[in-house]
Subunit: 455 residues, 2 copies
């Protein structure tokens, strides 16, 4: 484990890494402030053309690892809006709160644990008694805004898996150990959102509930710690910038038999990307008691009936995207010229390939478009014709494109193109006929995987 | 165009198609009522293990067609929560309303245009004057529930493209004609949600705003009508169950220079999957006026400055998924035995492949798992070991799996497996070493595309 407590102290990281990445995100179209033309909407962000590609790739890499490549996990996509009964049973209505006080001088409202006894607005020192402020967004469904119409925006995706447990069990005929995975938006009315997209009111989660026989909880908890840590390193986050932090016994929820966070070395210090918790049978029992439904597993072979224990790896997609950006950011020199480069894993890069005709002349356009059309079914491609080829390489480096394919005047003769590597800047000449296979093989090599069959 | 006005009259469609598909969705885990263990949450649905795969495939097919395969469209992912200013400018605060009345006898609230003068609850015939009821869900962001904290859940994704127009233009250096695409959840507090997932309070949209020079609006409107109609037929909806319906002049919004709906022949009649509208410069001008920002394009080459016109193809992902299910549903006979089959396009099917060891015996497990592991990186796979092979084929047919791969005792000798086709039920023997390439070639053939290189 590295002993650096701030990212500025991590090797090769510029001191102003955070400002640089935030600036890059805005300048190149990764992340915009939401409703910016109206002065912005506090702590809410829109993902631009590059950001949406990166965010999709993060979520798809998670889904691939957690659902597609396994036969013991299935997915769901539950609704964001839900009735109070769900959040009553889960404990969120009673306990998902912050303590708020009103300043008696200026009547502004603050989080009691953040103001140090003095109103940040007017300096006042007398406040109301703290009141529990629920962090769930509340709305009304139906034509009348009364108590019976109250609905909440989910503050986490996890309850969708618990309330659908019996439906999934019955329709898939899975048996423990098996998991239910979900990727989707959640909402928390955070009083102190902070650190760019790290903590926002609207965010995206990647959560999985893994249901196991009660006596296998500890073993599967350890298994998922290893799997989830490896997911981040496989996708390019250096081990030195990651750690597993086990919660102390006094940090644990009363029902938890163990929790550990995957933490990343953010510029402000170690902070959480994902929590992995052994939640025992708490959630299923709570929903069974509240709903009157049997939420348990009956093994026909053994005649055994039990409430499974749950291991929950719960990651934040948007903050994970931010960690990938921070870890990928680098500044180096190419041919004596400074450049910025995002060393993103090819599976995550917003574009895998840029097709660049050497000149704007019409003679190169048809073959460049032919190459683009060949690659588009297989890889996300950018196409850029403006300014010098050197400028265009820099632009692609800055947004993490692993390979640039240059179409030049020789291409018209030899039906070959130049493939340039983002990290080494090495260039190789590849026949157009072999190009898809060549790039697929390089993509596969970047994950240590087998190339596509035949390529 | 077919003249049948109801789906029951369409060839090969059972009269009770709707009940059968809804029943299949519940029984096999496509769609569950949301919060079902608590009695459900009206008109809100959760997508189960098969439904989430199908819905993801629909959305990914759209994204692939609209963003990945084009270099004139980029994506974004804007926030769901937004400030009133956006909806003031778009006109939704003033006009996105239904007329509601309260019954003076029982005080229940109804949509005036749906009750025919008599209260459905008590038979009362006197009502309050109709009031405009806004269909946007309202909530509060921040610690105080006052007017300054009001936020709305977006009722459509489109405004995210308009308010980000200048940011996207600047960061991508695109020039008209170009588009901005988005897939995501939207919310409408519908008073009369209906027809399963056709009209729900929470739903998913696939929208694109295509910005063009003002004098090219009509041409691009016609272009997108053709492209979007073809998208549905390419993915397997018969032309006889689809039509383009041009809006009459008196149906058009005052700013629209033309609107047409892609309609599907639902069991209750023709209804909308997608609206394609020539919105002229209405939206950009409205946001420019309200925000004070310049939302226009300046062509440096020509010195020309103009507000682009917008062509908007706006589709519903969830209702489109439902149309694919309805169009795919069939009942036929195989070997004298009745079966239900979903003839889903392989790109949409929840699983592309099922791996089925002929017997549960341990001797087949290792090679069956080896085959599964080979296929999982390339295709969504199911793995099923229980009950007879015939029952398992039927189960896969019923959920639309195009290919079943059977591992039998001969496999242990010849290192080959049997690949069964869902639609023809034909079986061919394929060496395991060729299996990935074989299936990739069949997948490509199903779209009339080139096979993967080398396969």
């Amino acid at each position: 484990m590295p002993d650096a407590e701030t990212a500025g102290a991590a090797p090769d990281r510029p001191d102003d890494l955070m400002e640089k990445v935030v600036g890059l995100c805005k300048r190149r179209g990764f992340i915009f402030q939401s409703a910016e033309i109206y002065g912005g909407f506090r702590s809410t962000y829109d993902y631009g053309p590059l950001g949406v590609n990166l965010l999709r790739n993060v979520k798809n890499a998670w889904w691939r690892s957690m659902v597609q490549l396994r036969d013991d996990v299935v997915g769901i996509d539950a609704a964001i809006l839900g009735p109070p009964a769900v959040w009553q049973a889960s404990g969120h209505l009673a306990n998902f709160t912050d303590p708020l006080v009103d300043c008696l001088s200026c009547h502004q409202r603050w989080r009691e644990d953040k103001i140090d006894g003095v109103c940040p607005a007017c300096g006042g020192t007398t406040f109301t008694e703290p009141r529990a402020f629920n962090l769930m967004f509340k709305t009304h469904a139906g034509p009348v805004e009364d108590e019976g119409a109250v609905a909440y925006l989910r503050p986490e995706t996890a309850q969708g898996m618990f309330v659908n447990f019996a439906n999934v069990l019955q329709t898939t005929r899975k048996k423990p150990p098996f998991g239910i995975a979900q990727v989707g938006k959640s909402f928390r009315n955070e009083i102190t959102p902070q650190n760019f997209v790290f903590r926002t009111r609207e965010f995206e989660q990647m959560e999985m509930e893994f249901f196991v026989p009660p006596d296998e909880g500890t073993r599967w908890f350890e298994y998922w710690l290893g799997e989830r840590f490896r997911w981040y390193t496989d996708l390019g986050i250096p081990e030195a910038q990651l750690r597993l932090r086990h919660h102390d016994p006094d940090e644990l929820s009363h029902y938890s038999a163990g929790t550990a966070d995957v933490e990343f070395l953010f510029p402000w210090g170690w902070d959480e990307l994902e929590g992995i918790a052994n939640r025992t049978d708490f959630d299923l029992k709570a929903h069974a008691a509240a709903s009157g439904e049997r939420l348990e597993y009956f093994d026909q072979a053994s005649g055994e009936r039990y409430v499974p224990h749950v291991i929950e790896p719960a990651a934040g997609a948007t903050r994970t995207m931010m960690a990938f950006l921070l870890a990928a950011y680098a500044e180096d020199e190419v041919g004596g010229e400074a450049r910025t480069v995002l060393r993103l894993h090819p599976r995550l890069a917003p574009y895998q390939v840029a097709v660049l005709p050497l000149s704007k002349k019409d003679t190169l356009e048809p073959v460049a478009r032919e190459v683009l059309g060949m690659l588009q079914p297989w890889l996300m491609c950018d196409y850029d014709v403006t300014q010098s080829i050197g400028r265009r390489y820099r632009r692609q480096d800055e947004v993490g494109t692993p390979w640039c394919v240059t179409v030049d005047f020789d291409t018209l003769e030899d039906r070959a193109v130049t493939v340039r590597d983002r990290d080494t800047t090495d260039q190789v000449r590849v026949p157009i006929a072999d190009l898809v296979g060549h790039l697929q093989a390089r993509f596969a090599a970047s994950e240590g995987a087998e190339p596509a069959p035949g390529s």
